[in-house]
Amino acid sequence: MSLTAGVRVDRGPLTVELGLEVADGEVLAVLGPNGAGKSTLLRVLAGLLPPDDGRVAVGPDTWDDVPAGVHVPAHERPLGMVFQDHLLFPHLSVTDNVAFGLRTRGMRKPAARAAAREWLARVGIAELGDRRPGRLSGGQAQRAALARALVGQPALLLLDEPLSALDARTRLTVRAELRRHLADFPGSTVLVTHDPVDAMALADRVVVVEEGRVVQAGTPADVSRHPRTDYVARLVGLALLPGVGEGTTVHLDGGGRVAVAEETAGPVFVAVRPESVALWTSRPEGSPRNVWPARLVSATPHGSTVRCELDGEVPLVADVTATAFAELGLAPGTPVWASVKASDVAVYAR
């Protein structure tokens, strides 16, 4: 049931013109600043906003085809949507919220409730089914909203800033759970976010949108290594490395070790921002606990800094000033030493 969409929406001064393809089981992140047209795109895919031109198709079904005059309204599209602030119906219990979509599609109440309870158990809030949404924490509400979106086995899952309403701590655990549920979901997923970490951690592919247009597309690693605009460079520079934590050391899945400041255990992500990576021509002495030999693969200037893609035991991206870059005499193929302070490495569960 792969998604193919190419739409144009005129929104006052901004024209949103985007094309997307998402395969079955694939998660596509649409990343961009506020007002770039991300939410407009999601509303078009959901059928809440008819596009001014273009087509939207999921599998063999056409949902929008403006030249042919086709527009399937939202309530006839087999999709699930998770909204930014969840939008759980305040007058219904959590179970009835999750059962809502099954009831509108004709399932009888006992069966719909049973299915809803099963999903509440799957997202880990089985015991909260009788509560009103007003009495849920942010993380619990997010889980309930996900269950409500997925219970009807939709062909397309739409996530609108699904983690932005959560505080930093809850965000980490909920993000890790969301990742697991997305991995199990057989349909296509489109995730809209302005947070690069969400995009990197959750998506198979990233599309960066600025002013209503796609400025870059690729895998998360691709986009962070070869940013094509300053916005992307600033936003998605961080390298995200999977590994297994053990005390203050993370053993990377791709080989190599990273020292971190916090104690961790189990599968984690290590995130390194390019500006915290220092480059040296000889092995640095002294404090940094993370020092790796590497080779410079490519260098792309951005403003006053140069983004350096490094290859080695630990793949990294480094931002160095243009002056430093010249002083180090760097050129593609040059062997270098890269160092990062343990306190500059972010680590979180995956």
Partner: protein, 268 residues
Amino acid sequence: MGTVRRREPGVPLPLLVPAVLAVAFLVLPLAGLVVRAPWGELGSQLTGPAVGQALRLSLVSATAATGLSLVLGVPLAWVLARSRARGRSVLRALVTVPLVLPPVVGGVALFLVLGRQGIVGRWLDQALDVTIPFTTTAVVIAETFVAMPFLVISVEGALRAADARFEDAAATLGADRWTTFRRVTLPLVAPGIAAGAVLCWARALGEFGATITFAGNFPGTTQTMPLAVYLALQQDPDAAIVLSLVLLVVSVATLLLLRDRWLTRAVR
């Protein structure tokens, strides 16, 4: 001085005097009503057949008018708040005219349309043998005409204040607009509807001008409380005071109900 002086406590005299006068002006007549009430014969007055009849008719017709207003007014409020049809502002102005129209004019207008010689009334009379003026039905129609705009305005406000994105969420869950209205919108704005219904009911209960013009003043069929008060004042002032007292109590109860239960939650 260095320190910031607190604003002087108290109210300036040019504001205080008129404000006190205003309070006196609004409260004294009601106090007078309570003071002058024939407390001794209150029981016998209240249980008299005329009072009971008028009170019952008032309650029944105001409740019926509120019911009719709910059935017609809530959908109208939805159209005003949610539809994107052109001419909505004109429509809103039209349906709120009865709010500012002198009720007597409303009564005359109703008579001209639904009266036996009226545009619709003639047809009703000839084809269906139905006559509306000077019946309890006319009372309900007159009260609905005057009171429904209160409900419409109140519910429209509640609908505008309600987060329309809940309706988007319902749509992505397979609910068409009618299902969304019934299962999401209506429960969300229920406090606003309740507040509007109470306002509407209170307005219907006090209706005088349109009722007496269109429905007349027949004890038992069209003589509601306000009409009975007016009539009694000329024959039996004590009875008029007792009837007024009853209406005052109902009004105060309505106000308390609105403030404590619904209005605060509706505004939320």
